[in-house]
């Protein structure tokens, strides 16, 4: 073992099974005797259930049973909301697995059908006759919070689920009153469909003899799923095994525990046979959580010489028909605390109002609250620049927090870990050739072509997070991770982790950490995840936390093993421990390099335990629970250059430059992949993605034909750069990078387009910036 593996863009360990089609995702797993579940779903956004007649369905070939909420009775508790934000008068309305008397969004489950085949199950679901009394529906969160809006839950007065405003309003008001300039904008953060390529699926197998339930499901956090499934079914947690096999992307949408997962579990317990459910894409768009959905009233205060003084916003956040698992924490803790961004802004204020609507429940979607904060901040900085007639780059430069290595307190109450924002900023500007761009833009305009540039400086809070903070902000769980490094007698490694990666390449990057620490070749390291029985407890993969938190647990566990190995090697070589030198997986005695023990030799001897130092236990395995002392704060600067065709409204994204700093990069290719994908996801929010509901709550963008997913031909090759600022509190200095692309790219692309449109007189547009909308705005400005 001589190649240095840390920092190398090696090929991914998970790919051989994925490129050959051999990987097994939930729906690929077959059990004999399985029944297929189909769910009868509400076609109305808001209605009372008058009656359900399932007799025709029950008589159909292959149908075993039809069940409603009445049949379930108290067999399933309601789905819990697990982020109980404090000081917000939070209401948590009941979320039954099947609707009781009333449906609250299109797709709300009303009954389940169990049949021997998935086609027959769906046929029978279509044959269940449900009589509804339709009620007025409301979709827009601001309208739902207004007086006279239809009431969605009797116990949520005015549809207000919470009102969160932890900052000093008087102090904020004073800053705005004294400021030279105040700009304001109403920003719509449109609803988005997460669209993991693998739709959700769940299969439950209850064994009546052992009273054990196994649930295979598309989960980002199988241990949380076990926790919740145990709670809703009443089974002891040690009788529930949750397995997240191969999982085809999540982006937050596979964090929550959904009714479907509870229903297959209940049905399997009830019938004593395995029960499987797989959603279609159309069903996914109706019932799997949506993201964003904010109406924001935002203001920014500045002085005439371009000092940013304060940000304040009132946010109406649409929660949908029920409060999903983590929903209350997203537009609050993960949003309002981010209003300082990378700037020296001393005053922030956020009032976030969580509103029940008749839309699909919302929850964490890639970035979760932080993209919505970064967008409003970056949008307002550009607005201030326009108001002051200042170059937006110069304005940003003037307000960036100077470089710091170990802690910087900001007005939000957070302590940023480390950052050199100016370095990333200048590097990105150099790569983009900003100093020449403005001239090129003017030249193009003289020829009737409209170029625009958007520049975003960002930082974000991820690597969630210290458990003490989680408790203080009402998160009903810890945010630590645990890991075991287990070495077999033949010197092969199994790393067991509680987190549950689903596309991030963690089987590779985590193996690289272990390889770096202990010298095992990366090919000899298997990272085991996704099965609650095989792996130690962990809180899951989201919030860009697996590399920083699980990675730290593995680094510490590896270091414990290394220390044990050093002592054992010294004993075996009859040397003093202080004389043992370590390099590349070999322990040698200082001054006599031919006397050496490899890590594999030591592992074997630790297992044999024939000759151990006094007091040393046999075996070669160490575990570590790791609770991070702080979040990590990656940062960077993204730049987009676009051209808008004034005659068609079409936008061409010509260049995209991203300089990101996530500390030392374990595998630069994996990091780049995270940024590429994140940038497209965020840029697509600016350019094409957006949920459309009819006024009565019908989802009009209910298939991939109607919802504009980003395609390969919409993007250029991306130009990536990096700076490296280690996190001071992390054993290997790394920060998360799973969400940075999505966080930075939406305002970058949006501001670039608005920059291009400025000479045409268009100053504001709601996302997404479709060509029809842009063309219409140009026409309106001309007339």
């Amino acid at each position: 073992m001589s190649t240095r593996i840390f920092g190398s863009g090696i090929k991914r360990r998970e790919d051989p099974r994925l490129i050959t089609g051999e990987a097994r995702y939930t729906d690929d797993i077959k059990l004999p005797g399985v029944l297929h579940m189909a769910v009868v779903r509400s076609p109305y956004a808001h209605a009372n259930i008058v009656g359900i007649d399932s007799s025709a369905a029950e008589a159909m070939d292959g149908v075993v049973a039809v069940y409603t909420s009445e049949d379930i009775g108290d067999g399933l508790a309601g789905l819990p909301t697990a982020w109980l934000i404090p000081d917000s008068d939070l209401k948590t309305p009941e979320h039954p697995a099947l609707a009781k008397g009333k449906v609250r969004y299109v797709g709300d489950g009303v009954a389940i059908v169990l049949a021997d085949d998935r086609y027959r199950a769906q046929d029978a679901a279509d044959a269940v006759v449900v009589e509804y009394e339709e009620l007025p529906a409301v979709i827009d969160p601001e309208e739902a919070a207004a007086e006279g809006a239809p009431l969605i839950h009797d116990d949520v007065e005015g549809n207000i689920a919470f009102r969160w405003a932890p900052f000093d309003k008087e102090a904020s008001d004073a800053v705005f009153e004294a400021a030279d300039v105040v700009v304001s904008e109403r920003i719509l953060q449109q609803r988005l469909l997460p669209t993991a390529m693998e739709p959700r699926a769940a299969m439950a197998q209850y064994n009546p003899a052992t009273q054990e339930l196994t649930l295979w499901c598309t989960s980002q956090n199988p241990h949380i799923h076990r926790f919740i499934i145990s709670a809703v079914t009443g089974l002891n947690e040690n009788k529930v095994r949750v397995i997240a096999p191969e999982v085809g992307g999540g982006f937050g949408s596979k964090i929550p525990c959904y009714p479907d997962e509870a229903l297959v579990s209940w049905a399997s317990i009830k019938l004593g046979v395995p029960v499987k459910w797989t959603e279609t894409r159309s069903e996914n768009y109706l019932i799997t959580i949506h993201g964003r959905d904010h109406v924001q009233h935002v203001e920014m205060a500045a002085s005439n010489d371009g000092k940013l003084l304060g940000v304040r916003a009132t946010v109406y956040a649409g929660m949908g028909g029920y409060l999903s698992t983590a929903a209350p924490g997203i537009p609050t803790i993960l949003h309002g605390l981010l209003y300082v961004g990378p700037y020296t802004i001393d005053s922030i204020y956020c009032e976030s109002i969580g509103v029940m609507t008749n839309g699909t429940p919302t929850d964490a979607y890639r970035g979760a609250g932080r993209p919505e904060a970064t967008f409003l901040l970056e949008r307002m900085v550009d607005n201030v620049a326009r108001a002051l007639d200042m170059d937006p780059v110069e304005l940003r430069r003037k307000n960036l927090i100077p470089a710091f290595e170990d802690g910087y307190d900001v007005a939000a109450g957070l302590t940023y870990d480390s950052g050199d924002y100016p370095a990333a900023f200048e590097k990105a500007l150099d790569m983009a050739g900003y100093s020449d761009f403005r001239q090129a833009q003017a030249d193009a305009q003289a020829q009737g072509r409209y170029l625009g540039i958007g520049v975003t400086a960002y930082t974000e809070m991820c690597g969630l997070g210290p458990s003490q903070v989680a408790g203080a902000v009402g998160f009903q769980g810890g945010l630590w991770e645990s890991a075991t490094v287990r070495v077999t007698p033949t010197g092969k490694v199994q790393a067991l982790i509680g987190a549950s990666p689903h596309g991030q390449g963690s089987e590779t990057t985590l193996a690289q950490i272990i390889s770096e620490e202990l010298g095992f070749p990366v090919e000899d390291i298997e990272v085991v995840h996704g099965d609650t029985t095989e792996t130690p407890m962990g809180w899951g993969t989201y919030g860009s936390r697996t590399t920083p938190v699980t990675g730290a647990a593995l680094a510490h566990a590896s270091r414990k093993l290394k220390e044990k190995a050093r002592v054992l090697a010294a004993h075996l070589m009859e040397a003093n421990v202080d004389d043992i030198e370590y390099a590349d997986g070999n322990f040698s005695v200082k001054g006599s390099p031919d006397q050496a023990q490899s890590i594999q030799d030591v592992a074997l001897m630790a297992h044999l335990a024939w000759n151990m130092p006094e007091g040393m236990d046999p075996g070669f395995e160490e575990s570590q629970f790791y609770d991070p002392p702080n979040f990590v704060y990656p940062f960077g600067t993204h730049i987009a250059i676009v051209e808008v065709d004034a005659e068609t409204g079409e936008i061409e994204l010509q260049r995209y430059i991203a300089v990101d700093d996530c500390g030392p990069q374990i595998n630069p290719e994996v990091v780049a992949g995270q940024i590429h994908g994140g940038v497209v996801q965020g840029a697509a929010q600016a350019l094409c993605e957006g949920v459309i509901y009819s006024d009565d709550g019908q989802l009009l963008t209910g298939t991939m034909q109607d919802y504009c997913m980003p395609k390969a031909d919409m993007f250029p090759n991306f130009e990536l750069g990096e700076t490296v600022t280690p996190s001071p509190h992390h054993p290997i200095g790394v920060k998360g990078v799973g969400e940075t692309g999505t966080i930075a790219s939406t305002p970058t692309v949006y501001n670039a387009v608005l920059d291009a449109l400025a000479p045409l007189g268009v100053e504001q547009l709601d996302m997404p910036l479709t060509s029809a909308k842009v063309w219409g705005a140009i026409q309106a400005a001309r007339s």
């Binding site: 086609y119 390529m197 298939t703 031909d713 090759n717």
Partner: protein, 155 residues
């Protein structure tokens, strides 16, 4: 209804419900689960296979319509235990993350490059419009396909 087809070189005969989609037949009856389902409107391309050598989204065809045809799925793309060059290129270029769109991407790209050696980046991006990936931002997929296209043009 009786249907017979050769899948990955193996002859199969089966009695199927006439409405069975080819993709469900492959996944359920033959247990060839490498072919994925990512949508229900033929947009995403996760179910892409080769039918008599041509690219096909297998959710757009009934199994009975493939009667007498030769089908190749991702499981049959490798030859003599060697990865197809497109599989190798996806691996080498980090052209995948969660892997769910990957079988369809590789099947579509393999046929495209076979028919269009030396394809340009713009042509590749245009062609891949029929396959959706949520993870990679397409950057490394395009890189992988371009690598194979360039190699195909050179031979």
């Amino acid at each position: 209804m009786q249907v017979s087809m050769t899948v990955n070189g193996v002859a199969h005969e089966a009695d199927v419900d006439p409405r069975t989609l080819l993709v469900h037949f492959l996944r359920e009856a033959l247990d060839l689960t490498g072919t994925k389902i990512g949508c229900d409107t033929s947009q995403c391309g996760a179910c892409t296979v080769h039918l008599n050598g041509k690219v096909l989204k297998s959710c757009t065809l009934l199994a009975v319509q493939a009667d007498g045809c030769e089908v190749t799925t991702i499981e049959g793309l490798a030859e003599a235990g060697e990865h197809h060059p497109m599989q190798t290129a996806f691996w080498e270029n980090h052209g995948l993350q969660c892997g769910y769109c990957t079988p369809g991407m590789i099947m579509a790209s393999a046929a495209f490059v076979r028919d269009n050696p030396g394809a340009s980046e713009a042509e590749i991006r245009h062609y891949l419009e029929g396959n959706i990936c949520r993870c990679t931002g397409y950057h490394n997929i395009v890189k992988a396909v371009k690598q194979v296209a360039d190699a195909a043009a050179a031979t």
